[in-house]
């Protein structure tokens, strides 16, 4: 085979390889979302974050509007401090509620935002004051069992 045919095939090979990498980055890894868009940072304190992880999505009305950037433990208040990066194109009122929710029964946990009615919008560095912790399944079950047990006692009285 002559030289220029080899060059052509190597060129095709390199282009195909680069295309495969691009496919992995864009179609599989979703490079496009939030990696280069402007964000602003807010934080919230939770009594219990359950299984929330850094990079978990932040959703409002089901739409991803940001990502959790950092989770710390505040040793003075014994609370979790969750730092969130919100996309700059979405503004939320100052009295927005942050809840830790689960997608599906076995799904991953995310932060759900519910907009309030305040006219002043959140800006970078603000704190979300209204929060609701993650639901811990064990607590829920023990509460349920406790209620059941007290229900069962009453007719016997």
């Amino acid at each position: 085979m002559n030289r220029s045919t080899i060059d052509l095939w190597v060129g095709v090979f390199v282009v195909a390889g680069a295309a495969a990498l691009l496919f992995l980055a864009l179609k599989v890894g979703n490079l496009a979302s939030f990696s280069n868009s402007q964000t602003y940072q807010v934080y919230a304190r939770f009594a219990n974050i359950g299984g929330l992880k850094a990079r978990a999505p932040i959703k409002s009305a089901g739409v991803v509007v940001g990502r959790v950037s950092d989770i710390r433990f505040d040793n003075d208040a014994y609370e979790a401090v969750v730092t969130m990066n919100l996309d700059a194109s979405y503004a939320f009122p100052r009295d927005t509620t942050a809840k830790i929710l689960t997608s599906g029964i076995l799904g991953e946990q995310y932060v759900g935002l519910e907009a309030g009615g305040d006219g002043v919008m959140l800006k970078s560095g603000d704190r979300l004051r209204l929060t609701q912790s993650a639901v811990v399944l064990e607590n829920l079950i023990s509460q349920f069992l406790f209620n059941k047990a007290s229900e069962g006692k009453e007719p016997a009285k």
Binding site: A16, L21, L24
Partner: protein, 273 residues
């Protein structure tokens, strides 16, 4: 002579063989490292006359395309079938895309492509260099004041190192396509859920970049082993055939061992995601 001296002699023989094996392997490893260093230092020719390297990319990369693409397609299709079987028991068959993509990008892409590359291209590199040595072509080059490492070995090394990440990426992409074919077209998983869950779960840096790093490391390891075994092969027909076998065995083991180490470093070290 009492019988125990015979046993003692036998034992001593075993220990001597074990010791000499260990020493000679350590010696070979040292030589191989020196060889790698020398080759990288003298790869100026391979990069200046890039055509030499391009010819080797053709040989190691383009000619491996068929086996890589076909294997990738089938691996992806099998993953989708097997994954669906398990996932649907938990009612999570929409996560099929995540399963296929993560296992291909993180593990199977680099590892299986590396193993195929070792047996398809690595063995050929060893056989070629070994035969050149056995037929004294390398010595002839030295006589003409051409450094055989710079002229013959380095282009093959760089050709392999450059081809391997591209092959692994093609393998992963093809595998995901195979998973899509079986999962979405054949079984009927929802196409939107397949892609969107995959995109939500696969991280560019943690998963894709780490997979690429793996494939680069495997490429260096396999080609290094292949060119070294060829260069170090005894210049006989038997020596070349043994060197070829050793290339495939050693580089497969090296890939699996390196994969364990890299995975341990990449996916368990960091805190939370």
């Amino acid at each position: 002579m009492p019988p125990w001296t015979k046993i003692a002699d036998d034992m001593r023989g075993r220990f001597e063989r074990l010791g000499s094996n260990v020493t000679s392997n350590v010696w070979r490893l040292g030589f191989a490292s020196r060889f790698l260093f020398y080759m990288v230092l003298h790869s100026g020719t391979a990069l200046r006359r890039f055509r030499l390297t391009v010819a080797e990319i053709y040989f190691a990369g383009v000619l491996s395309l068929v086996i890589i693409l076909v294997s990738g397609l089938f691996v992806g299709m099998v993953l989708a079938l097997q994954g669906y079987e398990t996932l649907q028991r938990f009612g999570a068959s929409e996560s099929l895309g995540v399963l296929v993509a993560l296992s291909l990008v993180r593990e199977l892409g680099p590892v299986v492509a590396g193993l195929l590359f070792a047996s398809r291209a690595g063995s050929a590199i060893t056989a070629e260099i070994g035969l050149m040595k056995a037929t004294e072509q390398l010595s002839a080059m030295e006589m003409m004041a051409v450094d055989p490492v710079a002229r013959v070995v380095a282009p093959r090394f760089w050709g392999g190192v450059l081809s391997m990440p591209l092959l692994a990426a093609l393998f992963s992409a093809m595998g995901i396509f195979g998973g899509y074919l079986v999962g979405v077209q054949l079984i009927g998983v929802d196409a939107g859920a397949f892609w969107s869950q995959m995109q939500a779960a696969v991280d560019l840096r943690n998963d894709i970049l780490n997979g690429v790093i793996k494939s680069v490391v495997f490429g260096i390891a396999v080609t290094w082993i292949a060119v070294f075994e060829g260069y170090d092969a005894p210049p006989t027909a038997e020596g070349v055939s043994r060197a070829t076998t050793r290339t495939v065995v050693t580089s497969s083991l090296a890939i699996l061992a390196l994969d364990f180490m890299l995975t341990a470093l990449m996916f368990t070290g960091g805190k939370a995601g």
